[in-house]
């Protein structure tokens, strides 16, 4: 019969094994399901980087998506040391899911899908004076497209007129067009009516009751069950896309608040939050949803019905996207 001390030693070994396996298991699982850990928007880049490491270690690797030969090219030398380190020390416990080192992969932003929330039969929020969310979001999206025409970005809209587009079609549109970024524009409605919040969301689970309520309103036709939610949570966490989405959300939120708070000092910046909106869950690129103002507040409604204010919003959105895109270029330079 095993003594107490022997039992303790064995239990500790099992506990250690459990910890090591838990960490390694997620890495192994990630490798077995590459689409979950590395969404398609990264695969092209990963392929280029991998080929460069294995076949051209002393040569240069071009920056840009493999599927985008027209992307601007900057030469940089591949730095193989982190890869070599792992290959030489297979016994080192893996800590997964690893955050992707942005310096390793050459990334750039080219195609951007803008999603004006609601449309057609889906009015979204409606103010007391009858202004609907779908009108505001479309106008801002059209202004943003106009502004982007003068930039190297290629912009696509999920809708260009007042039409009903189901959420899954918006998601499919962004995925099919290999978008690099997805920006969904919405206007909030909440009680008490005095509040005038600015909120920017990226994909992720949340326990914030307000975010849950908002997501449930925006996801009305999603059909997720409770059991699927657990799987969703796991997926979200190992998804590298979440980190990039958060960075994009931060850039856009900062620009919007800086710009709009000058005109609207009462604007309350509620910052960057996570919530499982369908359009953020289903898209395969960094994606955010911004609630630019509140149609429940009549002062906000007055501002939103002013064309100059809407243009300010579009300009701030563009600056946020640009700032994010520049940060990607910056991280590439650091890695070279």
């Amino acid at each position: 019969m095993e003594s107490l001390e022997q039992t303790k030693i064995r239990l500790i070994r099992e506990a250690i094994q459990h910890n090591v396996t838990g960490v390694q298991g997620s890495k192994a699982k990630a490798s077995a399901q590459p689409t979950r850990i590395l969404p398609p928007w990264l695969w092209g880049s990963l392929l280029v980087a991998t080929l460069a490491y294995f076949f051209m270690p002393s040569q240069v690797v071009s920056r840009g998506r493999a599927s985008s030969p027209d992307a601007p090219k900057v030469e940089r030398t591949a730095s193989p040391s982190p890869v070599e380190d792992q290959a030489l020390k297979p016994d080192i416990p893996l800590s997964a899911p690893q955050r992707l080192n942005r310096a390793v992969l050459p990334l750039s932003v080219k195609r951007i899908v803008i999603d004006p929330g609601h449309g057609g039969r889906q009015h979204g929020a409606i103010s007391e004076s009858g202004v609907s969310e779908k009108e505001i979001t479309l106008d801002i999206a059209l202004q943003l497209r106009r502004l982007m025409e003068r930039t190297p970005f290629k912009v696509m809209l999920t809708r260009q007129k007042d039409q009903t587009i189901p959420l899954e079609e918006r998601v499919a549109f962004a995925n099919a067009n290999n978008a690099d970024l997805f920006v969904s524009i919405h206007v909030n409605w909440m009680k008490p009516r005095e509040v005038r919040p600015l909120e920017t969301y990226h994909v992720g689970p949340t326990d914030d009751p307000a975010a849950i309520q908002l997501a449930s309103v925006e996801n009305r036709e999603s059909g997720y069950s409770l059991s699927e939610y657990r799987q969703l949570v796991e997926k979200i966490y190992i998804d590298t896309r979440r980190d990039e989405s958060r960075r994009l959300a931060k850039s856009i939120n900062a620009e919007l608040y800086q710009s709009l708070s000058q005109i609207n000092p009462e604007l309350e910046n509620r910052g960057v939050k996570m919530a499982p909106f369908v359009v953020l869950v289903g898209t395969e690129m960094p994606a955010i949803l911004v609630e630019i103002s509140c149609l429940s507040n009549e002062d906000d409604v007055r501002l939103l019905t002013n064309a100059d204010y809407r243009e300010k919003i579009a300009q701030a959105l563009l600056r946020g996207i640009r700032s994010y895109a520049n940060s990607l270029n910056g991280s590439n330079r650091k890695g070279s």
Partner: protein, 343 residues
């Protein structure tokens, strides 16, 4: 494990309501799991700190952006602020045992942290990340396992660890508990608070109270079965201090967690090999802050009668049972084991 001056072992029980730490240098501390940042310049000037932790945060809550960053035993989801708050909480705990974060002679910290029995893998990974820079090596173990290990109740025992956020169950069968041996329920101290607040509000709609007051009343007077005394509180009603008898509300709120706990205990017992069931029934160990509810073990014994009888007992030191157990695990793990768990 051979301990040196260069290593310090710690056991940490990060609780939704309270967090405790036990260290191999003999230090043991418990704090309220609250973190708060001054809301503005005025508040900052008044509290004279950039961040407040524990009771300090709770006392000054009106001036703070107050966070209770742990929920159901893991880092609350929803914002980065909660992760930051957990890191502050951990830094504070480590400082309490006398470790300076940037000291030159800082020993290597080997930490065992308890997590709910059925915590998501991803939640564990977030916690592991939060420990970066705080400990050099981290081992996560299920909370009831840590309790069992500390008590050396490793065979034919059931641990029921009832905290604020979760009630964790674990049957010890001489092996590291698998999923089949463990359960986590959300019915614990917090659900009593919610229930109590709801019941008082229903009966005394004009009474004014906060969730913090509810928690204090529960910690003072929670009970199951027959009350030793009437539970009388003083609260403002339309601004006037008024005495209210909440004995019935307190009993009903406490009773609300009993059915799921008894059901889960029974379910786990029926999964134990038949020849050992009686041994386990007579070795039910209750830990966690909510184990202090008066009459709880009697209520569990009553439920065990339906299975042929048994005995539940509360650990001697419910608040530190988890962290002491974690410390015992940390001390017993070998240097080679710890090397595999560096963060």
């Amino acid at each position: 494990m051979e301990e040196t001056n260069e290593t310090l072992c710690v056991g940490i029980d990060l609780g939704t309501s309270r967090s405790s730490i036990s260290a191999s240098n003999g230090e043991r501390h418990v704090i309220d799991s609250y973190v708060g940042w001054p809301v503005d310049m005025v508040a900052r000037k008044l509290v004279k700190k950039a961040v407040l932790v524990g009771r300090d945060a709770l006392t000054n809550r009106s001036m703070l952006d107050l966070r209770r960053p742990l929920e159901r035993g893991v880092i609350k989801e929803g914002s980065e602020k909660e992760e930051e708050a957990v890191r502050e909480l951990l830094h504070h705990l480590i400082a309490l045992i006398g470790l300076k974060q940037k000291s030159k002679n800082r020993p290597k910290v080997r930490a065992v942290v308890g997590v709910p029995a059925e915590a998501f893998r991803v939640s564990k990974q977030r916690l592991r990340s939060a420990m970066e820079g705080i400990a050099d090596s981290v081992m996560l173990v299920s909370e009831p396992f840590a309790v069992a290990y500390g008590l050396e109740a490793l065979l034919h025992a059931m641990i029921i660890d009832i905290g604020a956020g979760t009630a964790d169950f674990c049957v010890m069968q001489g092996r590291y508990p698998t999923e089949e041996d463990q359960r986590t329920l959300p019915n614990a101290g917090d659900s009593i608070d919610e229930q109590l607040a709801k019941l008082i509000r229903e009966r005394h709609p004009e009474a004014q109270f906060s969730i913090h007051m509810i928690r204090e009343w529960k910690e003072k007077w929670s009970f199951l079965g027959e009350p030793k005394d009437r539970v009388v509180i003083t609260v403002p009603v339309k601004g006037k201090a008024t005495e209210l008898d909440i004995t019935n509300e307190m009993r009903t709120a406490c009773e609300s967690i009993l059915p799921p706990i008894c059901e889960t205990m029974t379910d786990l017992l029926t999964r134990v090999e038949p020849e050992y069931q009686e041994k386990v029934r007579n070795n039910i160990i209750v830990a966690g802050g909510s184990s202090l509810i008066s009459g709880l073990t009697d209520a569990l014994d009553k439920a065990l009668l339906e299975l042929g009888g048994g005995r539940a007992s509360v650990v001697k030191d419910p608040i530190f049972a988890g962290s002491d157990g974690g410390l015992a695990v940390a001390r017993d793990a070998s240097n080679a084991d710890w090397e595999k768990l560096s963060v």
